[in-house]
């Protein structure tokens, strides 16, 4: 497993907690939590992949980590600008989808 994975998962869990604590716009926050959960699933499903800890995978994981950090910062310190967070989440989802697509491409093919 890449050394980045635990930090990525920890940050995702942190965002989830902050979204759960949002007051006044719970429905919107719940929808964002579901989307964040899908990103977490991508990370969990791919964490043991060999390619992700290579010179090809590490930069992609680094980009995902940076996008997650940016999303975290939007909510950090009690921030509740969910629209800005959603914009940041879109970038996280895009990076996660790239990792998922690369894993799919590298799945074993048998004719």
């Amino acid at each position: 497993m890449s050394a980045r994975i635990p930090a990525v998962k920890e940050k995702l869990a942190g965002i989830k907690s902050m979204l759960a604590a949002v007051k006044g716009n719970e429905g919107y926050a719940a929808g964002l939590q579901i989307r964040l959960g899908q990103v977490t699933n991508v990370v969990t499903e791919n964490e043991s992949k060999i390619w992700l800890r290579t010179r090809v995978g590490e930069p992609m994981l680094k980009e995902l980590q940076a996008a997650i950090d940016d999303a975290y910062k939007v909510l950090e310190g009690g921030g509740s600008d969910l629209e800005s967070f959603e914009a940041a989440l879109k970038e996280v989802e895009r990076k996660a989808a790239m990792i998922d697509e690369e894993s799919r491409r590298r799945s074993m093919v048998v004719t």
């Binding site: 390619w51 290579t54 090809v56 074993m108 093919v109 004719t111």
Partner: protein, 282 residues
């Protein structure tokens, strides 16, 4: 124009590259949702985004086509989720293409060695005359697809292609679809593409060929996996199927005339070693 269905896949991409190198006009027909970026980067390929189950889309793609290389198919494990969908795509789609194709146009049909069923009890290598056994949705669809092609009246070559290997870091599935002690024979993707191109030139003979790696690729499942990942420098913990599956050693003496077996397993290992170093695994 030569139309390659399923041309956006790994094998299709290799076929398209070879055709372009030969100066052929190439069309690719594949699903809109697949990754087209590799083909788009090649330049000069006519792209048709559509579904082989849609006769109108197929008809549009087949206009002006002089020859067909039909690779598009639902493959395992996805093929086993729905018999109806698999037959619709792999058989119905083949029939749509054959109907839309100009009469007399040669067809290369990518079938699979899975049409022989589970042959683990056999001592001899499996030849083209071995009885066919529909043991799952995929093999059933390929047997029916072969029949559609051979009964179409068009010149054809049917290729029963062994499982394909690429010179890349490929992730192991949770359960490897063969036993560790089972005979397996794969084929390198570029060699399979060479066979397909050569098959186009002999379609008038209306023959069926096994396409597999050859002697250096014949080994047991465990050895195959061990050698691949040792070459890459990656530690893996493979889990194998408990039951024999439809992979074996194949008699490729008939298909030697296609002159496609250009990559020994040792040469693949060398390429994987270089890749392992590039990836920082070695």
């Amino acid at each position: 124009m030569i139309l390659v269905t399923g041309g956006a896949g790994r094998l299709g991409y290799e076929v398209v590259k070879l055709l372009l190198q030969q100066g052929e006009e190439v069309g690719v027909f594949d699903l809109p949702a697949v990754n087209w970026s590799y083909l788009e980067a090649l330049k000069g390929v006519n792209l048709f985004k559509g579904d082989v189950t849609d006769p109108e889309q197929v008809s549009r793609a087949c206009k002006g086509v002089d020859a067909l290389i039909h690779l598009a198919a639902i493959m395992p494990p996805k093929s086993e989720a729905s018999e109806k969908l698999t037959l619709n795509v792999n058989v119905g789609g083949t029939r749509n293409l054959l109907r839309a194709l100009r009469r007399g146009s040669p067809v290369v049909f990518a079938s699979s060695i899975s049409v022989y069923g589970v042959t683990a009890s056999e001592e001899q290598r499996i030849g083209e005359d071995h009885p066919l056994t529909a043991h799952d949705n995929y093999s059933r669809s390929k047997i029916l697809g072969e029949a559609a092609v051979t009964e179409s009246g068009n010149p054809y070559t049917v290729l029963r292609i062994a499982p394909i290997t690429v010179a890349d870091l490929v992730e192991l599935p949770p359960i490897i679809p063969y036993r560790g002690e089972q005979r397996v024979e794969f084929i390198f993707v570029e060699d399979a593409a060479n066979a397909i191109i050569a098959a186009l030139n002999v379609a008038d003979d209306k023959e069926t060929f096994n396409v597999a790696g050859g002697d250096s690729w014949q080994m047991l499942g465990r050895e195959y996996v061990d050698r691949l990942y040792a070459a890459l420098g990656a530690e893996v913990d493979p889990r194998y199927s408990d039951e024999n599956t439809a992979v074996d050693w194949y008699d490729t003496s008939r298909s030697k005339r296609l002159a496609y077996q250009r990559t020994s397993f040792r040469q693949l290992e060398e390429r994987l070693k270089a890749l392992g170093e590039e990836y920082g695994l070695r």
